[in-house]
C-alpha cells in the first residue's frame, strides 16, 4: 500500500518542531508500524538525511519504550496494544497517517518523536516499593497466604508498562492512572500495607511536583492503556490518600 506520513520533526528540546510530509510506498500489511518506520528511515539514510528518532526496544509490547500519537491516539487505533504491536494491515492504501510524540509538560520532547519520561521514574523513587532489604533472608514465601482474587488484582495493577499513554491521552496530562497502579499493587497486598500511608502521600506529592495535571474522571487513560489498567485504581488511590491525610 501507499501512504502519506505526516511526522513531527524536532531537532532537540530547544528547537521548534513541525510536521513534515513523507510519502511512502510498497508497505505490506504484515509489517508492524515500527517496521514501516524502519523502511522510511532506511530510505532517509540512503539519501544522507537524518532518520526519524523514536523510542523502541523490545518490540513485543512489554518494555514500554515505544510511544507515538498515531492519528491523535496514543499507540494508534487498536485497543490493548502498544505501537510496536500495531500492524499495517490496520491501515488502507492511500491513508494519511499523522505521527506525533506523546505530549505533556512533564514529558518534554528530546528529539522528533522521542520524549523524556523520567518523571515517571521519580514518582516511583518517591515510594513505589516495599522497604525490605534484598540481601537478607526473609520469611518463607508461603508464610504469607494471599487471597487469590486480591493477588490477581494486584497483578493486574502491576502489569503497567510505564509507557505514558495515559498521560498523553488525558486532556489534563494527568499521571493518576500510572501512579495509582503502583499504589494499588501494594495496597492490595499485606506486605504493602505496612507503609501504605507514607507511600501514597510521597508518590502523590512527587506526581504533583512533576507538573502532571489533575484527574477529572474522563476515563480516556483507561481506554488508551495498552495493558488495560483499570480506572478503579484511581478510586483506590484517592481512598488511600484520603485515609492517609485524615490519619495525619
Amino acid at each position: 500500500m501507499n501512504l502519506l506520513l505526516k511526522i513531527w520533526r524536532q531537532k532537540d528540546g530547544n528547537s521548534k518542531g513541525k510536521l513534515v510530509d513523507y510519502p511512502i510506498s510498497d508497505i505490506e500489511g504484515d509489517m508492524s508500524f515500527l517496521e514501516m518506520l524502519d523502511v522510511l528511515n532506511q530510505g532517509l539514510i540512503e539519501q544522507g538525511e537524518e532518520p526519524v528518532v523514536f523510542d523502541h526496544d523490545c518490540r513485543e509490547g512489554i518494555c514500554g519504550s515505544c510511544s507515538l500519537m498515531i492519528n491523535g491516539e496514543p499507540h494508534g487505533p487498536d485497543r490493548l496494544i502498544t505501537t510496536c504491536q500495531l500492524h499495517m494491515r490496520r491501515f488502507r492504501d492511500g491513508d494519511t497517517i499523522v505521527i506525533e510524540p506523546f505530549r505533556a509538560t512533564a514529558f518534554p520532547v528530546i528529539k522528533d518523536l522521542m520524549v523524556d519520561r523520567t518523571a515517571f521514574d521519580r514518582i516511583q523513587q518517591a515510594g513505589g516499593y516495599i522497604s525490605v532489604n534484598t540481601s537478607g533472608h526473609t520469611v518463607d514465601a508461603n508464610a504469607i497466604p494471599i487471597e487469590k482474587e486480591k493477588a490477581d488484582e494486584s497483578f493486574n495493577a502491576a502489569a503497567c508498562i510505564g509507557c505514558g499513554a495515559c498521560v498523553a491521552a488525558c486532556k489534563n496530562a494527568s499521571a493518576m492512572l500510572f501512579t495509582s497502579a503502583k499504589v494499588s499493587q501494594f495496597a492490595l497486598l499485606p506486605q504493602g500495607r505496612v507503609e501504605a500511608t507514607e507511600r501514597v502521600q510521597n508518590m502523590v506529592r512527587q506526581m504533583d511536583l512533576e507538573g502532571f495535571g489533575n484527574c477529572t474522571n474522563t476515563g480516556a487513560c483507561e481506554v488508551e492503556c495498552p495493558k488495560g489498567i483499570s480506572l478503579e485504581n484511581i478510586a483506590r488511590m484517592n481512598r488511600e490518600y484520603l485515609m492517609a491525610t485524615t490519619k495525619g
Binding site: 523490545c58 540481601s135 494471599i146 490477581d152
Partner: protein, 667 residues
C-alpha cells in the same frame, strides 16, 4: 593453551558456598561508604546487584542505554522462575534442581556454581514475595507452580506470561528505594563504550550520553557488567532491538576471556519469520508446551497442500498427524529441553513437512487441552452431560486465563485465532549461554571486573533449561556478587576515590573517540542495517541450529570480509555530537562483526555435539547429539590477540565429582 583456575572452594558440594562465605574477606560498613561500584546494565542481574550493594553501603552508579532501568530486556521473559521449594511435594530438592540443570546443560557447566544457584533459588522466591511481586496463587492463597521443559517436577513460579516483567519491576523498585536514599546514581540513556584499566585493574568506564553525545569518564573501585546476551549477532532474535555485546566485547578486548561463544540457545516456540522487512522475532513462552501439542502432517502431500493454502490444519484427521516429540521422546514428550525440541522441528521441516508458506513452521495445538480443561470445568461447575460446544467454551476460558496475553500477542502478529486453529511456531535465537568467563566469585580475568547474568558464561552449560535465566540473574545479583565482590574490595579500603584525570582514562577515551570518528567518517553507501542483516544471514545459515566444519570455515572468512567492507562503506548520517541513533547501532554492529568471527571459530574447534551446539559430523544414527567427554569436557575461554580468529584458547577443565556423565536421554 593455558589452564584456568576457577577458584571453586574445597569441601563437599553442598557445603562449598557456605564455607566460602565464611572464609572470604568482608568490608566493614563504615569502609563501604568509601567504595564506589559501577554497574552496567539494569536488567535482573544488574538491578538486583545495584539494590543490594547500595543497601550494604557501597556507592553505586548504574548505567543503561534505555530511558529507564525498568525497560531492560529481562522485562520480556514470560514463563517463570525455577526454585527448589518443593511446595508441590513432588520430590523436588536443591540437589534435583542442580542435577536437572547440569544434565540440561549437557554436562558443560561447573558443578559448584550450579549447586549454589539451586541453593539460592529458594531465597529468591521468599525475597520477591516480601518485595510485593504478585506471583500467581492458588485459591488457598499459596503460590502456584507449573512445569517447564527437561524436568519431571513442578517448580516454576510465575506471574501469568509476564514473570520477567514482575521480577524486574521488583528489582527496579528495590533500586528506586536506593536511588531515593542517594546510594545509587542512575545514568539512563548512557552507553558504556569501554572499560578503563589502571595498573591492570578495572577502575572505570568510558560512556556516551546518548542525548548530548558527550563522551564521559566514570571511575570506581570495581566494575560489574550485567549487560545481557549477544543473540542479536544473528540480527533476528527474540532480544530487544538495542541488546548488544559491546560492553562484554570491549572488556574482552581489554583482557577478559570470552567463554563458549558458540553456545547459543535456539528457542523452539517462536512466531515464524514472515518476510524481509522483519526486525525481530517474538517468543511464545515455553509454558505453552505444558498444554500445547506439537505436530506436523504425516503425509508430505498434506504438508504441501497446507503450504499452498488448499488445506487447513483442523481438516487433518488425528491419524494423519505426526506428534513427533511424543513419538521420539515418550518420557518427556512435548516438554523435552529447548535444544532437542528445536532440532526436532528443523528435522521435520527439512524433511518437507513444514507448514507455513515458507515451509519453516510446525503446529502447536491446544485443541485437546481445551477439551480436557472444558470437561473438568463442566464437572466442577456441576454441568451434567455438557455438549461439545459448552465444553469447548469452558475449555477456552481456562486456556485464556492461563495464557491469554500470549494468545492475544500471537493473534495480533499472525492475524489468526489460536483458540480455533493451531499456532504456527518455529525456532529462533533466544539466549546465549556463552559470555565472559568468570570464576566462582563471578570475576572475569580482569581484576576488579565482574560479570553477572546472561552476560557471563557460567551456569547453563551448553543448553539452558526454561525458567532458569531469571533465577540466575537474581541469584547472581541479590545473593552471590554482593558477597564475593567484598573479598576483592577489602583490599581497597584505603585506596580513596579513583581519579579520572589519569593517563589511563585519557588514553581510553581517545581510543573511543577515534573509533566512533572512524565510523562517522566512512560516509559510504550502506546503512548499518545492511551489514547487520548480512551478518545475521551468515550466522543463521552457517552457525545456527546445525553446524559443520566446512561452513564454519566459510563463515569465519565471510565475516572478516564483511567487517572490512563495513569500515570502508558504512553510512552513518550526522556526527558524534548530539543524539545519533545510527551511530549507536553502528558501534554495536561493529562489535558483533568481531564476536561473530570468534563464535564461528569456537564452534569449529569444538569437535563434538553438545546442547545447543550441534555439529553434523558428530551425531548418533538416530540423529541425536554425540558428546565427546574424553576430549571436550572443558570450558573454552578465548584470549583476545588482535583479530578474533587469532584468539588463543585457554581451557577450564570441568570436573564432575557429584554427577555421573551420561548420554542425555529424554526418551
Amino acid at each position: 593453551m593455558g589452564i584456568l583456575d576457577s577458584k571453586v572452594p574445597s569441601g563437599p558440594l553442598a557445603e562449598k558456598w557456605t564455607k566460602h562465605k565464611n572464609d572470604i574477606n568482608l568490608v566493614n560498613p563504615a569502609n563501604k561508604r568509601n567504595i564506589d561500584i559501577i554497574i552496567v546494565g539494569t536488567g535482573l542481574a544488574g538491578a538486583s546487584a545495584a539494590a543490594t550493594l547500595a543497601e550494604l553501603g557501597y556507592n553505586v552508579k548504574t548505567f543503561c542505554y534505555q530511558d529507564s532501568p525498568r525497560r531492560a530486556h529481562s522485562i520480556a521473559a514470560q514463563g517463570g522462575i525455577n526454585a527448589a521449594k518443593n511446595y508441590q511435594g513432588d520430590g523436588d530438592s536443591p540437589y534435583r534442581l542442580f542435577y536437572d540443570t547440569i544434565k540440561g546443560g549437557d554436562y558443560r557447566s561447573r558443578e559448584a556454581n550450579v549447586y549454589r544457584l539451586a541453593e539460592e533459588s529458594v531465597n529468591i522466591i521468599d525475597q520477591c514475595v516480601a518485595q510485593g511481586v504478585p506471583f500467581a496463587r492458588e485459591y488457598g492463597g499459596l503460590l502456584d507452580n507449573r512445569s517447564f521443559g527437561g524436568v519431571l517436577v513442578s517448580r516454576t513460579f510465575y506471574a501469568k506470561g509476564q514473570t520477567g516483567q514482575q521480577l524486574l519491576l521488583g528489582a527496579y523498585a528495590a533500586m528506586n528505594r536506593q536511588i531515593h536514599r542517594g546510594k545509587i546514581k542512575s545514568y539512563t540513556r548512557h552507553e558504556m563504550l569501554d572499560v578503563v584499566l589502571v595498573d591492570g585493574k578495572a577502575r572505570g568506564i568510558i560512556a556516551r550520553d546518548l542525548i548530548t553525545g558527550e563522551i564521559q569518564r566514570h571511575s570506581a573501585h570495581a566494575v560489574v557488567l550485567a549487560t545481557g546476551g549477544y543473540g542479536n549477532v544473528f540480527f533476528l532474535s527474540t532480544n530487544a532491538m538495542g541488546s548488544n555485546v559491546t560492553s562484554a566485547w570491549r572488556a574482552h578486548r581489554r583482557g577478559a576471556f570470552f567463554a563458549n561463544p558458540c553456545f547459543t540457545q535456539i528457542h523452539p516456540t517462536c512466531i515464524p519469520v514472515s518476510g524481509d522487512h522483519q526486525s525481530k522475532l517474538t517468543l511464545m513462552s515455553e509454558s505453552l508446551r505444558n498444554d500445547g501439542r506439537i505436530w506436523v502432517p504425516k503425509k508430505p502431500e498434506d504438508a504441501q497442500a497446507i503450504r499452498e493454502g488448499k488445506l487447513k490444519p483442523t481438516q487433518i484427521p488425528e491419524e494423519d498427524r505426526d506428534y513427533y516429540l511424543e513419538r521420539r521422546y515418550p518420557a518427556f514428550g512435548n516438554l523435552v529441553p529447548r535444544d532437542v525440541a528445536s532440532r526436532a522441528a528443523k528435522e521435520r521441516c527439512d524433511a518437507g513437512f513444514g507448514v507455513n508458506k515458507t515451509g519453516e513452521a510446525v503446529y502447536l495445538d491446544f485443541a485437546s487441552a481445551i477439551q480436557r480443561y472444558g470437561k473438568e470445568k463442566a464437572m466442577t461447575s456441576g454441568i451434567k452431560d455438557p455438549d461439545k460446544e459448552t465444553i469447548t467454551l469452558l475449555g477456552e476460558e481456562v486456556i485464556a486465563a492461563k495464557y491469554g496475553n500470549l494468545f492475544q500477542m500471537y493473534e495480533k502478529i499472525v492475524d489468526e485465532n489460536p483458540y480455533k486453529t493451531p499456532m504456527m511456531i518455529y525456532p529462533a535465537v533466544h539466549y546465549t549461554m556463552g559470555g565472559l568467563w568468570v570464576d566462582y566469585n563471578l570475576q572475569t580475568t580482569i581484576p576488579g571486573c565482574y560479570c553477572t547474568g546472561e552476560a557471563n558464561f557460567s551456569d547453563h552449560g551448553a543448553n539452558r533449561l526454561g525458567a532458569s535465566a531469571l533465577m540466575q540473574g537474581l541469584a547472581d545479583g541479590y545473593f552471590v556478587l554482593p558477597y564475593t565482590i567484598g573479598d576483592y574490595l577489602s583490599d581497597d579500603i584505603r585506596t580513596g576515590p579513583i581519579s579520572t584525570d589519569s593517563e589511563a582514562f585519557e588514553k581510553t577515551e581517545a581510543e573511543v573517540r577515534e573509533r566512533l570518528q572512524r565510523i562517522v567518517d566512512a560516509k559510504g553507501k550502506n546503512p548499518v542495517d545492511y551489514y547487520h542483516k548480512k551478518l545475521g544471514k551468515i550466522m543463521w545459515n552457517k552457525c545456527g541450529m546445525s553446524r559443520n566444519a566446512k561452513e564454519l570455515k566459510e563463515a569465519i572468512d565471510e565475516i572478516a570480509v564483511l567487517r572490512k567492507d563495513f569500515y570502508e562503506n558504512v553510512l552513518v548520517p550526522g556526527s558524534m555530537d548530539g543524539m545519533n541513533t545510527e551511530l549507536e547501532k553502528a558501534g554495536r554492529v561493529a562489535d558483533f562483526l568481531e564476536l561473530g568471527e570468534l563464535f564461528a571459530k569456537d564452534a569449529l574447534e569444538r569437535n563434538e555435539s553438545c546442547g545447543g551446539h550441534f555439529r553434523e559430523e558428530y551425531q548418533t544414527e538416530e540423529g541425536e547429539a554425540l558428546r565427546d567427554d574424553k576430549n571436550f569436557s572443558f570450558v573454552s575461554a578465548w584470549e583476545y590477540k588482535g583479530e578474533p580468529r587469532d584468539a588463543v584458547l585457554h581451557r577450564e577443565d570441568l570436573l564432575f565429582e557429584n554427577v555421573e556423565l551420561k548420554t542425555r536421554s529424554y526418551k
